[in-house]
Symmetry: C2
């Protein structure tokens, strides 16, 4: 069976393992702090590529940032990654084919093949973490757009410039639906810059009225964005992924969305493809795209 050497390159951590054609992880997952330099990132990749030499047919990288339609390079801004990250020539790091996909797109593909959106035709994945990522699948294909950057969750929640977004613009969905946004909601409500998302989640779990109110506002903002996306894409389902998704009242959001949309009812689901869905999705996409790659797998 063909195998991919899979990486997930994020702003904080790089994960790495081997994944086979079924999406199964066949080696222990390794974790590295993301180096602060381009050379440092290349070093980590090269070292792992060398370590697993002979055990994989292709390199599959899920990465922060938009990836071009040839799956060969990161394009444009990558937010929390080192400046110039997009200049890395990933293919030069291995004599095997190197395949890249945006991490949210890769996660959407893993959910579609193995997880919560399996069996659906049209799905929208939202990764709710430090930021908000999006991966959209329409009739068996990832929505990539003309340059590969489609699915960016930067549509406006207000048009009167209330909250700056990491993208440089104002009032994007990411600025209201991310974990960072929940902290900001709490800071504003409590006039306390030291409050954390953990404080809010703890308060929610303990039935604290103020924390519950803050959390509910954040959840309602997530719902508001999903309503617009449901009317645009008319999807079978939404998949909520990322570290913040677990706290959301899925049934409540689903009911609220279906009460407001003009399209037919949709379903909201928690991600089910596991913690390493970015790597799994990138590996599956890579192995599907390059089925004819020469096998050197043992």
């Amino acid at each position: 069976m063909k195998k991919a050497l899979a990486f997930d390159i994020g702003g904080t951590k790089i994960y790495n393992t081997i994944i086979d054609e079924t999406g199964a992880i066949t080696e222990e997952v390794e974790k590295f702090s993301t180096p602060k330099t381009i050379e440092g990132i290349k070093e980590v990749l090269k070292q792992q590529i060398e370590k697993y030499d002979g055990k994989f047919n292709i390199v599959a990288i899920a990465t922060a940032g938009a990836v071009n339609n040839e799956n060969s390079a990161v394009i444009g801004s990558t937010g929390n990654l080192v400046q110039g990250y997009y200049t890395i020539d990933f293919q030069s790091l291995s004599d095997k084919k190197v395949f890249l996909e945006n991490d949210a797109n890769a996660a959407a593909w893993a959910e579609y093949r193995l997880g919560a959106s399996k069996g659906t035709d049209i799905s929208v994945l939202l990764t709710l973490g430090t930021g908000v990522g999006g991966g959209i699948i329409i009739n068996n294909k990832l929505l990539k757009g003309k340059s590969g950057a489609a699915g960016e969750m930067h549509f406006k929640m207000f048009t009167d410039k209330r909250r700056k977004c990491t993208c440089g613009s104002w009032d994007c969905y990411e600025a209201y639906a991310s974990g960072t946004a929940l902290k900001q909601d709490a800071e504003e409500e409590l006039n306390n810059p030291n409050i954390t998302t953990y404080d809010v989640i703890d308060g929610l779990k303990n039935g604290d009225a103020v924390m519950t109110k803050i959390f509910t506002r954040w959840q309602n903002d997530i719902t508001a964005g999903i309503i617009g996306l449901a009317n645009l894409f008319d999807p079978d389902c939404f998949v909520l992924s990322g570290s913040m998704a677990q706290f959301i009242d899925i049934k409540k959001v689903e009911a609220d969305v279906n009460r407001e949309i003009v399209t037919s009812p949709t379903s909201i689901r928690l991600a089910a493809a596991g913690n390493y869905s970015g790597m799994a999705g990138a590996a599956l996409l890579a192995l599907e795209k390059f089925k004819s790659v020469n096998s050197e797998s043992k």
Copy 2:
């Protein structure tokens, strides 16, 4: 050459003509006031189907309201059309195949085949009239969604319930980007319920400062929505269609959009497929879908 008997059924008017495989109109376009009853609408259709008997191979209807993925029925709410409109069995009106498509989707297809988005892979059409319609083309196909209702321009411009939308919800794009919205903007600004969109447009043309300010707010709201759509779809272009599109400063909107988006630059274009793009698009879609239909054309 095969021909379609084409209709465009809107809230106010029904248009009808014959259109061939190249999109050319081969008979004079007839216009009817849309009857206020289901029976009345069926009567108009039946009368024209009879009139052109033997001159067409298929009936192609562009209609207000979402159309199912089989192109056989209108589903769900149709806003300004008679109640129960969706219960009409359109196929029963002719012994030829009857093909339906949403009017904005049909217009998007006409622009893609004949007009402003010809030669592009990914485009978003916005019809700016009494309401706002949307038609999205991704890699040679209309985005239809699971039920046929995709492309509804009901995403939120605010999340704090400022303006009621015709869909029953609050603050949808349609409530800020339509001609009706421009009138409402003017009413609010001038505290005058009798002001019309014509007054605003006249004032704009004559360089009136207040009317220009009102118009600019409206145009900026249109821009704000396009920014979100550009980040979601990463399209080659947007096509602005409908009665209000002609007043928009296309180059200004394009510059404003490209300054804010995180995806690569897109272009904003005025519709170019003519006044009857709904009928042309429906006819082309119908003739493309049913190429094997028996010819009775003269």
